[in-house]
């Protein structure tokens, strides 16, 4: 759903055709789930149908003819409304990681739980190393940095939460034994 608003946000800076929009999207959100060309055109079709963008001419700079799109007044209003709408913090946690860790701690025997949790921690750590190496790359754009930070911070939060969970269970065991 937010892809429509990202395209509106890109068009707010000036008219573009679909091909340019796809590249601008990839550049601004380099680590987001990729947006296929087909999706760009279908999204533009919907935005046009809803009066949020309009065709603003044809562009044929040395290639095939392409339709240029511009944001409408209604489109700007919709974009403004979306930006003003605070994202509700999720009321429930829905994560496969949470479910697996809880099940491992509640159901599995300690050796099996350790095996899974250790492998999970290792997978997170490996991904964090890869992202950290990317961050040290001199050519990273600000968009890249922001996206990598987002991923790293979330992985770090997972690990911190995992540590707290393990310590809570370990404390509980100590209490039960004493």
């Amino acid at each position: 759903m937010s892809a429509s608003y990202v395209l509106l946000g890109l068009l707010a800076r000036g008219p573009m055709h679909g091909y340019e929009l796809k590249h601008a999207y990839d550049q601004r959100l380099p680590r987001a789930k990729p947006l296929a060309f087909g999706q760009v055109y279908s999204t533009l079709g919907r935005l046009e149908r809803d009066g949020l963008v309009t065709q603003a001419g044809q562009d044929q700079a040395g290639g095939p003819e392409r339709t240029t799109f511009a944001i409408t007044g209604e489109g700007r209003a919709a974009l403004e409304a979306w930006l003003s709408d605070v994202e509700a913090p999720a009321p429930y946690v829905t994560s496969a990681l949470l479910s697996k860790v809880v099940v491992a701690l509640l159901v599995a025997d300690p050796a099996r739980a350790t095996e899974y949790l250790s492998a999970q921690q290792q997978a997170h750590t490996t991904r964090m190393r890869e992202l950290t190496r990317l961050k040290s790359d001199q050519d990273l754009t600000v968009g890249d940095h922001i996206a990598v930070d987002y991923a790293l911070t979330h992985l770090d939060a997972d690990l911190r939460w995992l540590q707290s969970a393990l310590h809570r269970v370990a404390d509980l065991h100590r209490e039960v034994r004493s």
Partner: protein
Amino acid sequence: MSPILTARDVTKTFGVQPALRGVDLDLHEGEIVAVRGRSGCGKSTLLHCLSGIIRPDGGQVHFRGERLDDTGEAHRSELRRTRFGVLLQHGHLVAELTAAENVALPLLLGGGSRRAALAAAATWLGRLGVAEAAEQIPGRLSGGQSQRVALARAMVTQPEVLFADEPTGALDSLAGELVMQLLTRVAREQGTAVVVVTHDATIAAYAERELVLRDGAVDPTGLGVAVGTGA
């Protein structure tokens, strides 16, 4: 390739409290290793044993084949000045000296000329992006600048091993990121091996591998805590 620094079955007890219980570590040339674990797990004690700041009660530490754990303080101190670099959480810069003089200090203590030492200091401050701080005393520097000056001081002797204990612990995340990026970059450029002690996974992620300690021993699960279950 054989490791340049090894620890074998290293133990250390403070009073009746065991801090290290038989730790093994191999550090290879130019390698960056993180030592991680919750507070009190023995990670700083391990760093102190590896760098010769303290002597372990048992086990052995070798640096390039030379045994460190049974040599006297004078020799260990000489090694720390010439072949090791140390970076702590708070830079511990000398308050009365300028940043440039702080960085030049290890070279001056080694008998180098003042002119050459200050020239090397200027080069390092430039490499770490704090050239403008050269004539400032530490009290006038930001936390991030202080740590970069302390890093310059640790690297000015071109050490073979850099020991860093929570090097970004007192910094905000962006200043910490800059210090870690510079630290790993200059270590790689110089071929310096690094042991970085941290409780922070985002800092450990700068290393190529990590050693997790639990209650003074290496935890092969990497979790740093015994897993109990509610079953």
